[in-house]
């Protein structure tokens, strides 16, 4: 019997990476930190907030050891399930490891870090949810970026023109503006759907058209109409959820936020329930997996695709409003800065499920939040490197996971009625 050929799988590559990472941590930590350096992690503000003083060197060495162990375990490959679980668990330890390393000799607030990650994940998670709505019915939507941009721009345009007309009714104006953002996101999506369903345009090409159009349209609108500066940039107000906000430690962080942040969770749950527990969701998935079969049992494939792509754009438009109306209170050229594309990666990461996408979004949100936190902690790393983090994370995650992530079967294929 010939020996089994050695196949280099993705697991091996990851295991080897983990071994290297573990060795690097074990070798680097003793040189970089004194034995008595303490990283203080606080859970809340103020002096009496609960906290944990972690001995920097020891903690990093322990984490490095865990990396080494799980990597070796996976390389031995005797117990595949156990080693995979170990890899995932120690993979998650990268978050505390980085934070503890950065906060050596200082203190940092873990709660605000988590809250910031969640906040920065909002547009990514909403964008990913938007992607799920289109892609589950078989329409590739790489135009989330463009739809977000349109939402951000026209939402702010509405605020810009309505604010002087309706003084005093700020909240109403903001609400209308968010709705305008949603509508314009939907309009861009309708164009995408029209091109790819009515004209069978390659959906990736059509999405690129939307992206280019959105960049041109929004910078044109900004340059022509939105440049006259006005003082006082207003954004959506914080809403404290009564009762929940009083929960100690996490209450203020989670339940005293802005509306689109809450909408993220509402959308996640709604999408999950609709997709997996309603007849409508079943039809959606059928159209995305096997449109011929769906058509045979009387589902209108074209209508489902038009409808869901438009809904996708409306959700993306809401994500766009996060930039202009919830965060900045203004509109800048290309202010979405690639979040729409990262959202796609988060969607693929989550295997086209809402909660999986939420996990992916959190990962990118954390990478994003880490950048600002590093600057606060004065870690001597160039800011540009930290800004690369979300994009590098995306590539690593996609390389590691996409092989096992399967897209809806009929995705990208125009449906032709027999």
């Amino acid at each position: 019997m010939s020996p089994r050929p050695l196949r280099l799988t993705r697991l091996h590559v990851f295991a080897a990476l983990f071994v290297l990472l573990g060795l690097a941590l074990l070798w680097w930590a003793p040189g970089a930190f004194e034995a008595d350096t303490i990283s203080r992690l606080n859970f809340g503000l103020g002096r009496d907030a609960p906290g944990w003083g972690a001995p920097t060197r020891l903690t990093l060495q322990v984490i490095g050891g865990l990396y080494l162990a799980s990597g070796l375990l996976a390389l031995v490959n005797r117990w595949p399930r156990v080693s995979l679980a170990a890899l995932v668990l120690s993979g998650l330890l990268i978050f505390p490891a980085v934070l503890i390393g950065a906060a050596a000799g200082k203190q940092t607030n873990v709660l605000t870090m988590l809250a910031e990650s969640l906040r920065l994940a909002t547009p990514i998670v909403i964008g990913a949810t938007a992607g799920i709505w289109a892609e589950r019915t078989g329409i590739i939507n790489i135009a989330i970026e463009g739809m977000m941009l349109a939402g951000a721009c026209f939402g702010f345009t509405s605020l810009f023109f309505l604010e002087p007309i309706m003084p005093g009714a700020t909240n109403l104006v903001l609400l209308i503006s968010v709705l305008v953002a949603v509508v314009f996101g939907g309009l861009m999506a309708l164009l995408h759907a029209w091109l790819s369903i009515r004209f069978n345009v390659n959906q990736v090409v059509s999405g690129t058209v939307i992206n280019i159009l959105a960049i041109g349209l929004t910078s044109f609108v900004r340059r022509e109409w939105l440049l006259s500066t006005r003082a006082g940039r207003i954004t959506l107000p914080n809403i404290a959820i009564p009762g929940l906000v009083d929960i100690p430690v996490i209450g203020d962080v989670l339940f005293n936020n802005k509306p689109i942040f809450y909408m993220m969770f509402v959308l996640l749950i709604l999408t999950h329930v609709i997709l997996f527990y309603t007849p409508f969701g079943l039809r959606m998935r059928a159209v995305g997996e096997h449109p011929e079969a769906a058509d045979t049992v009387g589902v209108n494939v074209f209508f489902m695709r038009y409808l869901n792509t438009t809904i996708s754009g409306m959700i993306a438009g809401l994500g766009g409003a996060w930039f202009s109306l919830e965060t900045v209170g203004g509109f800048d050229d290309v202010m979405t800065g690639g979040r729409g594309f990262i959202a796609l990666a988060a969607m693929i990461f989550g295997k086209w499920t809402p909660f999986g996408a939420f996990g992916g979004g959190l990962l990118f949100g954390f990478a994003d939040a880490l950048g600002t936190r590093f600057q606060i902690l004065n870690v001597p790393v160039p800011p540009q490197w930290l800004q690369m983090l979300p994009f590098l994370t995306t590539m690593v995650v996609l390389a590691g996971l996409v092989g096992r992530a399967t897209a809806p079967a009929a995705e990208g294929i125009p449906y032709e009625k027999q």
Binding site: R10, I140, I142, L195, F199, V201, N202, Q203, V204, V205, S206, T208, V209, N211, I212, L213, I215, G216, L217, S219, F220, R223, E224, W225, G338, F341, L344, A345, I348, P382, Q384, W385, Q387, M388, F391, L392, T394, M395, L398, A399, G400, V402, G403, A407, E411, G412, I413
Partner: protein
């Protein structure tokens, strides 16, 4: 009746051969579709110009006062501005203008073609030359994306690859270690470095696609953002200084040595890069249609399963196509550094990536057709400045026109319906890109 015509039309195999004259409007029109798409896009662009140039409050007031007539009289100046805008756009792009010669700046050389009283038909060679200079990177970058499409790959990462190429070319160009080299060595060295940078930047997403199946659309976009941040850091970093010219008031690299600059042609801004670009066009065509590797790439693009069944290595073709695509984009970046700017500043290549996609689509991935498509792009962008001055319109309207051009090229049924041209025959479709799998 119409059905019968369609049937007879299909029953006769009519391949468009270069020797045969087209017989009716539909056949002429089919060849004109790209041109008609451009015209349609310009008409759509005019709508935005009129919208921007009209005082809508006054128009509404006039409408309620004098009805439709009043409304039209308010909108008419906007239509006039759109006309002025397109005139200026054309003058800025092609150098042909119907203007008062005294309005042309004194130092600008021009030829009066037709004196027509106060205003004359003049030709300003400099505008046309500037357009051609602008066209050079678009030819190469458009070629890069077209090559990717031939393999069924969507390279959105031309921008990042331009940065990778531009950074390396600039480094070789200005680094003291390479100063004093003769031009014959220095220029090829800098160009090779540029190609190598782009090659690497393109090969990474290609490798990831071939090896792990990660889609190249996402990865090339991520590589774009990484390249932008990398360039920003390399050029701006002060501790340590890496590629920053500390004597300059704006962040940029030092100027490349004289010996690394592309030679200029006859005292104009036209540089040697034009020949590089045209040679690349021919080379890409030769590679795709006259070599085995090129054939394999096209086969993988047309049908990966068939290619695999025929014993071709799909992975090799994917990596090779992405690497070559990146190399071409890197060459474009090197050309801008060595021929035009002579240094590199952060943000210099912003937007070229999307432009090159549009050009490749406009050319239907045909290497030779990339040249006129790129010329159109160079013209639009070069003319936009004059348009902004003359018609007081934001240059972003050009971006809208460009987006519409791509849209009408991609969905040419819209153009065919608008201009009454019969639908295209089967088999004329061009492969662009694939879904996530």
């Amino acid at each position: 009746m119409a059905e019968i015509t369609a049937e007879t039309h299909q029953s006769q195999p009519r391949q468009p051969s270069p020797g045969r004259m087209p017989r009716n409007w539909s056949e002429i029109g089919s060849r004109l579709v790209p041109g008609l798409a451009v015209v349609t896009a310009m008409i759509f662009g005019a709508v935005f110009m009129v919208a921007a140039a009209t005082d809508w409050a006054a128009a509404r007031a006039a409408f309620s006062a004098d009805g439709v007539g009043g409304f039209i009289s308010e909108v008419r100046p906007g239509i006039g501005r759109a006309g002025i805008a397109y005139g200026a756009l054309f003058e800025g792009a092609a150098g042909l203008g119907y203007v008062n010669p005294s309005s042309i700046r004194a130092e600008t050389f021009y030829v009066t073609l037709l004196p027509l009283g106060e205003r004359s038909l003049v030709f300003i060679p400099r505008n046309l030359i500037d357009t051609i200079v602008r066209t050079i990177p678009f030819i190469l970058a458009g070629l890069a994306v077209a090559l990717g499409f031939k393999c069924g790959l969507f390279n959105i990462g031309a921008e990042g690859q331009l940065y990778a190429g531009g950074l390396l070319a600039a480094l070789i160009g200005f680094h003291p270690a390479f100063r004093g080299l003769p031009s014959l060595i220095h220029i090829p060295l800098a160009v090779a470095a540029g190609i190598a940078g782009g090659l690497l930047w393109g090969a990474i997403p290609g490798f990831l696609k071939a090896r792990t199946g990660a889609h190249e659309v996402i990865n090339t976009i991520m590589m774009n953002y990484i390249a932008i941040r990398l360039a920003d850091w390399l050029i701006k970093s002060r501790e340590p200084v890496i590629m920053l010219d500390t004597t300059a008031s704006v962040p940029r690299t030092p100027f490349v040595a004289q010996s690394a600059m592309y030679p200029y042609l006859a005292n104009t801004s036209l540089h040697f890069g034009l020949f590089v670009a045209l040679a690349a066009v021919w080379l890409v065509w030769w590679f795709l249609y006259r070599t085995t590797l090129g054939f394999e790439i096209r086969t993988v693009g047309a049908n990966p399963s068939a290619a695999r069944y025929a014993g071709m290595s799909v992975s090799r073709s994917v990596v090779l196509a992405m690497a070559l695509s990146g190399g071409l984009a890197g060459l474009a970046g090197a050309g801008e550094v060595l021929g035009v700017q002579h240094n590199l500043s952060p943000g210099f290549f912003a937007g070229v990536g999307f432009d090159s996609i549009a050009i490749a689509l406009l050319a239907k991935t045909n290497p030779f057709a990339v040249v006129p498509a790129a010329l159109l792009w160079g013209g639009l962008i070069n003319g936009a400045g004059l348009m902004q001055v003359r018609a007081d319109l934001s240059i972003d309207v050009v971006k809208i026109i460009q987006a519409f051009i791509v849209m009408f090229i991609a969905a040419d049924q819209i153009v065919r319906a608008l201009w009454r041209i019969r639908a295209r025959r089967r088999g004329e479709e061009v492969v662009f890109a694939r879904g996530w799998s």
